[in-house]
Symmetry: D3
Subunit: 145 residues, 6 copies
C-alpha cells in the first residue's frame, strides 16, 4: 500500500465585501455586522489554504501535481475573486459574503478539481481570523471528540 500524505497549498487574493443580509432589518444588520454593514464595503487580503490528501505516487513522489492544482486555482479561484467585489458575484447574490460562506463557496469550486478529493478549505481574512470548512456532511463534533 502506498503511503498517504497531505498537500497544503496557499493562494492569495484581494477583494472587497459588504456584510448585509436581505432577510434582516436594517437594525438587525447593524447589530449582526457592525461597521462591516456600512453600505460602501471594505476589503481584505484573503489567504486560501487548500488541503488535498492521497497516496504518494511511487514514480513521482507526489500526491498531486502542483502545476495542475495551480492551473485550476488560477482559472476558477484567482481570475474570479482577485481584485473583485464579492457581493457582485453570482454566488453571493443571495448569500452574505462572510468568510464562512466564502470558504463554503471555495470548497464547492475545488470539489470540481479532477482526480483528487479536497479535504478542506481554510481562509484567513486577517492575520488574527481564519475559517475552515470540511465539506457537506462533515460531523465536526466527532472529529474533535
Amino acid at each position: 500500500m502506498l503511503p498517504r500524505a497531505t498537500l497544503i497549498r496557499r493562494y492569495h487574493f484581494s477583494a472587497s465585501h459588504r456584510l448585509h443580509a436581505e432577510s434582516l432589518t436594517a437594525e438587525a444588520n447593524r447589530e449582526a455586522f457592525g461597521k462591516c454593514n456600512n453600505p460602501h464595503g471594505h476589503g481584505h487580503n484573503y489567504v486560501v489554504t487548500v488541503s488535498v490528501s492521497g497516496p504518494v505516487e511511487r514514480s513521482t513522489g507526489m500526491v498531486v501535481n502542483l502545476a495542475d492544482l495551480d492551473g485550476f486555482a488560477q482559472e476558477h479561484l484567482l481570475d474570479v475573486f482577485h481584485l473583485n467585489n464579492l457581493n457582485t458575484l453570482p454566488s453571493f447574490a443571495t448569500v452574505v459574503p462572510t468568510t464562512e460562506n466564502l470558504a463554503i463557496e471555495v470548497y464547492r469550486i475545488f470539489a470540481g478539481f479532477p482526480g483528487r478529493r479536497i479535504d478542506s478549505i481554510g481562509i484567513e481574512e486577517t492575520g488574527n481570523n481564519a475559517f475552515l470548512y470540511h465539506g457537506p456532511g462533515t460531523n465536526l463534533k466527532s472529529r474533535s471528540a
Copy 2:
C-alpha cells in the same frame, strides 16, 4: 441541515513566568526546566488560538458573532493575563505555568463562553513552539489514527 464550519481566532498577550515545581527538589527543578527555573523568571509574547465549530447560521452567515467572542476574550483572557506574571495568578498557585498547563487553563476559561462549544485551544510560546489542548476526555490517539 446547515453546513458546519470552524472559526479560528487569535489573541495576543505578553506575560512572564518561572517554571518551578514545589513537588520537586531544587536539583530536579533545574534538570526539568534548565534556565527557565531561574528565580527571577522570563517572559513571552503568547499567541492564543481559539477554535469554535458550529453551524453557519443562514441569515448571518456566521458560526459565532466575533464581537461576542472578542468581548469574552477581553474580559476573561486579556484583562487577566496581558502584562502580568503567570505565577502570581490563582490558577497557577500550585500548578507549574508551562504552556501545556496554560493551554488547559485557557481552555477551562473559554469553556465558559455561552452558546458555542470550544474545539481546542492552541498557544504559541515562541515562533518555534506551540501547544494544543482539545479538552478533558479527548482520546488523542484515535484522532491521529
Copy 3:
C-alpha cells in the same frame, strides 16, 4: 487521568534537491517536474513541524522535555539535512526527494525518538506550500469525514 496535550515544535534547515525519477524517461521527468528537473538542482529553506501528543505530567507540567526533543532533532535531523543536498543522502538514493517523500523520511527518523510517539510531521517547502504525513497505516479519509 492526566490531561493530554500536543506539542508542536518547528525546526529549520536549508537544503537543495533535484526532482528526477530514474524510473521515468527524460521527457516524463520534465513533464512531471518542470524546471525542478533541471540537472543542477535548486533549494529551499525547509521548516519541519514535529507534533507529539501525550499526558501532561503532573510534576513538570510537560508533555515531553523540549531539551530531549531538540537534542534528538539536532543529531538526527539538522546535522544530516542542514546545508546539504538531499539527493546525495542514502535515503534518497532511489527515492525522489519531493517534500512528500521528505516528510515520510523525517517521520521515520522521529519514530526513533524514545519515550513519546510522534503524531505527524509537517514540512513547509515555501511559505505557500506544505506537506503533512501521519505515518504508515493512516486512514486519512476517515480523518476528514
Copy 4:
C-alpha cells in the same frame, strides 16, 4: 545630551478602494490600473508603520508614550479608515486612493500628533507590496546617495 532612538509602531486596518482617475479616459484608466479599475472595487488588509524619533527621556526611558500615540491613531486613523471604503472619504474625493497617496494622507494625519515629529509613514498593501513617505520637501535622492 540624551541618546536619540526611533519608535516604529504598526497599525492594521481593512478597507476597500477603486483605482480610477477622473482626469483620465476610461481606456487610460484601464491601462494604468488594470483590474484595480473595476467599478466595484476590491480591498486589502493595510498595515501602517509610523516612525517617530526623539531623545530617550531619562526618567521614563521612552521616546514617546505609546498610550498617547495609540490614542491618536485610534481616533484619527483607525476610526476613520478601518472597515471603510477609501473612495468615499473626503481626502480621496479628487485624489486616486493608491497606496502612495494613502501614505501621503496618513503622514498628513500624524503630522498633527502633538509633541513629536513623525519621521515617515510606511504602508503595506499586501505582503509583497509596501510604500514609504518621508514628508514634503524630502530630497530622497540625497538619502540614497
Copy 5:
C-alpha cells in the same frame, strides 16, 4: 574600490521586565507605564536586528563572517539575556528596561564586536512594536531630511 553592503542579522531571546523608575513617584510610574508597572513584571519574545556595513571582501564575498558574529552574539547577548529578567541585570540597576534603553544597551554590547562597526540595533518587542538605535552622536533629524 570594493562594493559596500550591509548584513542584517536577527537574534531571538525571551525575557521579562518591569517598567519602574526609581526617580518617579508611585503615581507617576503608573501614569507613565500603566500595567507595565505592575510589581511582578511581564515578558516578551524580543527580536534583535544587528546591522553591519562594510566592503564585500573579494575572495570570500562576505561583509563579515557570520560564524564570528553569531559566536559574539551567543556569548555577549543570548547567554546574558535569554530566559532572564532584565531588571536583575547590572545594566538596568538604575536604568528603566524599556526597549529603547535595551536597544542602547545592546548597541553598547555590539560596539565591542572586533573588526566591523555596527550601524544600528533594532529590537522588536512585539509584532507591532519596534525600536531602532543608531549609536551615540547620531543626528537623526538630518537622516530623514
Copy 6:
C-alpha cells in the same frame, strides 16, 4: 513640486548555491564557509526587495507602474534565478554566490529597468539573515552618521 515616495516590492525565488572561492585553498574555503562549502551545495527560498523612489504622478497616484516592474522582474530575475543553481549562472562563474554578491548582481539587473532608478536591493536568505546593497559609489558611513 510633486511629493516623492518609495515603492518596496518583494519577489521570491528558490535556488541552490555552493560557497567556494577558486582563489582560496581547500582549507581556507572550509574555514571561510564551513558546511556551506560542501561540494554538493544547499539552497534557500530567497526574498528580493526592490526599492524604487520617485515623484508620485498626479494623474495615476503612482511612483511606478507595478505591472511594468513585475514584467521586468519576471523576465530578468525570476526566469533566470528561480529553481536554478546560482553557481551555474555566468554571473557567478568567477564570483562566489554569497548573498552579498547576489544582491550586487540583482542590483545590476534592476539598474536596467527603464524610467526609474532603483534605490537599493535587499535579499533575505533566511528569516534571520538579510543583505542590502545601495549601488556602486555609495558612502554608507555617511548614511548612518
